[in-house]
């Protein structure tokens, strides 16, 4: 019986193609918008997460100054002392390791090839705090680190530009005006979240960079690895207390350094995108509701218009349940058709918008299933009232209806 009813519904929809299409337009737009918004929201969140996690999780970055792009006036706050890092590692609970960082710009030369790049000085702890596996070669050993030996680990961009396809480990390159042995090549990391090629780098023991490039023993950045069992706020508080003391700040004086918590930023950005996605999805959901009302409206018109047909069916021997089912199935088939078209429209929209916005193309199965199920449910909910009205008609009156 349901198969037959289904057939009748399809026949009836096919008889009024334009009207059927206009009826389900609301559902198409609603389903399309909801699926598009949720999928794009997920893609954005994923992208943000990826960018942030490129900076490393459970890491605090400590820099001199008052924050990015601030502290324009007044004297430049002093860099950190080389003893600050070990002090933090030793005295702040929950800190696993501290990697100091010094930085300079220099040209790297190998045989005929020149490449201007960033020279980063750090300690082996940097690779523990912010893991970065090697593609080949090795990290430097404690003796080399202690001595500030001219050994370097190069990023993939530098490798490509200096060595083309050739072997880099074991070669000697010139960086600035020193020559150093390449002991390792890093795996590719790609673009950083906020621009810049992370692979365009030469990393050396910090003492070598301080001595040969910067010319002092100051530290521009401290990468602090934290144990995730400790609260980040507590670590930050005691870290700030320690640094204020070491930098001899009076009570009431502002910090002349700032702590940047990548996890906190990541969480904030994620929750912001999630909230935005929810709001936009809710708005899109309203159009689904409007679509449902559209279906109810057309079904009511249809019942009135087809009163005589209903009378004929009842006279022929249709029971009330069959008439109800016919109109209900018609509404559900209509709305599911709308849902299906909406899903197709959504995939096209997601494709176009992802491409335009530089986002990865995502297919989120759950939201497609949910949106389709909702479109079917809308058919049931908004189709029931008109269907019940049709089933309740008196056959004699219905047959007399003009």
């Amino acid at each position: 019986m349901l198969g037959t009813t289904f057939l009748l519904a399809l026949r009836s929809i096919a008889r009024h193609k334009l009207r059927s299409f206009l009826t389900i337009l609301g559902i198409i737009i609603g389903v399309g918008a909801v699926v598009t918004m949720v999928t794009l929201g997920k893609a954005t969140t994923a992208q943000v997460q990826q960018n942030i996690s490129a900076l490393g999780t459970n890491i605090l970055q400590v820099r001199p100054g008052q924050g990015f792009g601030r502290g324009g006036g007044g004297p430049r706050p002093p860099d950190f002392d080389e003893s600050d890092g070990p002090a933090i590692a030793a005295q702040v609970a929950g800190v696993t390791a501290v990697a100091p960082q010094a930085q300079a710009t220099a040209t790297a030369i190998y045989e005929g090839a020149n490449w201007s790049t960033t020279v980063q000085g750090t300690t082996n702890d940097a690779f523990t705090v912010q893991p970065w596996p090697l593609a080949s070669g090795r990290y430097w050993n404690p003796a080399e680190e202690q001595a500030g030996k001219a050994v370097c680990i190069i990023g993939n961009t530098v490798r490509t530009n200096l060595f083309r396809g050739g072997e880099a480990v074991g070669q000697r390159i010139r960086v600035g005006n020193i020559s150093c042995d390449v002991i390792g090549v890093l795996t590719t990391r790609g673009q950083a979240g906020f621009g810049g090629d992370q692979d365009d780098v030469v990393i050396m023991p910090i003492k070598a960079v301080q001595r040969r490039f910067v010319g002092n023993r100051d530290v521009r950045l401290l990468l602090v690895g934290t144990d995730q069992r400790y609260s980040s706020a507590a670590i930050q508080a005691s870290l700030k207390d320690l640094l204020r003391e070491r930098r001899r700040l009076e009570p009431g004086q502002d910090d002349n350094f700032f702590v940047f918590d990548t996890k906190q930023i990541s969480d904030t950005l994620s929750s912001t995108t999630t909230l935005l996605t929810r709001i936009v999805t809710a708005v899109a959901g309203i159009s689904l509701l409007v679509g449902g009302i559209g279906i109810m409206n057309i079904m009511l018109v249809s019942v009135t218009e087809r009163t005589r047909e209903i009378g004929i069916r009842l006279a022929i021997g249709a029971v009330a349940r069959e008439v109800l089912l016919q109109f209900l199935v018609e509404a559900v088939v209509l709305s599911m058709l709308g849902g299906l078209i909406g899903l197709l429209v959504a995939q096209a929209a997601i494709g176009a918008l992802s491409w335009a916005g530089g986002l990865p193309f995502l297919f989120v199965p759950e939201i497609n299933v949910i949106a389709f199920a909702i479109s079917a449910a809308i058919g049931v909910v908004f189709g029931y009232f008109p269907a019940r009205r049709a089933a309740g008609l008196n056959p004699i009156d219905a047959l007399r209806h003009e």
Binding site: R11, I312, A315, I316, G317, V319
Partner: protein, 237 residues
């Protein structure tokens, strides 16, 4: 004599309540034998349509009893009566009442759909019914593409496709010219004679009633008189 197919006893029908109350039927006693061809006549408001609605199980009497094949119909609910119509009754209306934008075959198939026939059987049975009314070659035409007489024949095919016991026809020739009317009457007479189907027909045209074997005259909500054993083709008094 065998039990009648249809038996009404003291059937009344009252519409409305209080001051606006209208007694459409004031106590009808009627027996109709299986295989009969009955014409129901009477002026409008005489109760003939109300009686036909009750006989067609579309409506229930306010009082009295209605036995169909020995079963009480007045106690059945809406859906039970619908199933009774599906199984035993066929309807032909003055206005044809075919589904528009639907082919003749699909129209005739409709009762079989509700009966739950398989597609193949449905097709075959519906085509056979169309053949009986001489329209098998027009099966894929919609009502708009058929003449009035052809539409009424499709409607008759739809009414007989389930091989019902009773065919109820409400002024079946009311919208047709006299030539088409005679064709339709001959078709109904033939079905009655060959298939043994009981025909109940409302008409106000004596020419049409002349095709019946029994003619029942209604007046003021009562049966005025019954002409029985009427020779078909003879003029109706």
């Amino acid at each position: 004599m065998a039990d009648p197919l249809i038996s009404l006893r003291g059937v009344t029908k009252v519409y409305g309540e209080g001051a606006t109350q209208f007694r459409a039927l004031k106590g009808i006693d009627l027996d109709i034998a299986g295989g009969d061809f009955v014409a129901v006549m009477g002026p409008s408001g005489s109760g003939k349509s109300t009686t036909m609605n009750i006989l067609g199980c579309l409506d229930v009497p306010s009082g009295g009893t209605f036995l169909f094949r020995g079963h009480h119909v007045e106690t059945l609910d809406r859906d039970q009566r619908a199933l009774l119509r599906r199984r035993y009754l066929g309807f032909v209306f003055q206005g044809f009442n075919l589904l528009s934008r639907t082919t003749a075959l699909e129209n005739v198939e409709l009762p079989l759909l509700y009966r739950g026939d398989e597609k193949k059987a449905r097709r075959a049975t519906a085509m056979a019914a169309l053949e009986k009314v001489g329209l098998d070659r027009w099966w894929d035409h919609t009502p708009a593409e058929l003449s009035g007489g052809q539409q009424q024949r499709v409607a008759i095919a739809r009414a007989i496709v389930t091989s019902p016991d009773v065919l109820l026809a409400d002024e079946p020739t009311g919208n047709l010219d006299s030539e088409r009317s005679v064709e339709i009457m001959e078709l109904l007479t033939g079905l009655n004679r060959d298939s043994g189907i009981t025909v109940l027909m409302v008409t106000h045209e004596p020419d049409m009633a002349a095709f019946a074997r029994t003619v029942i005259h209604f007046k003021d909500g009562l049966v005025e008189r019954i002409e029985q054993g009427h020779r078909q083709g003879e003029a109706v008094a």
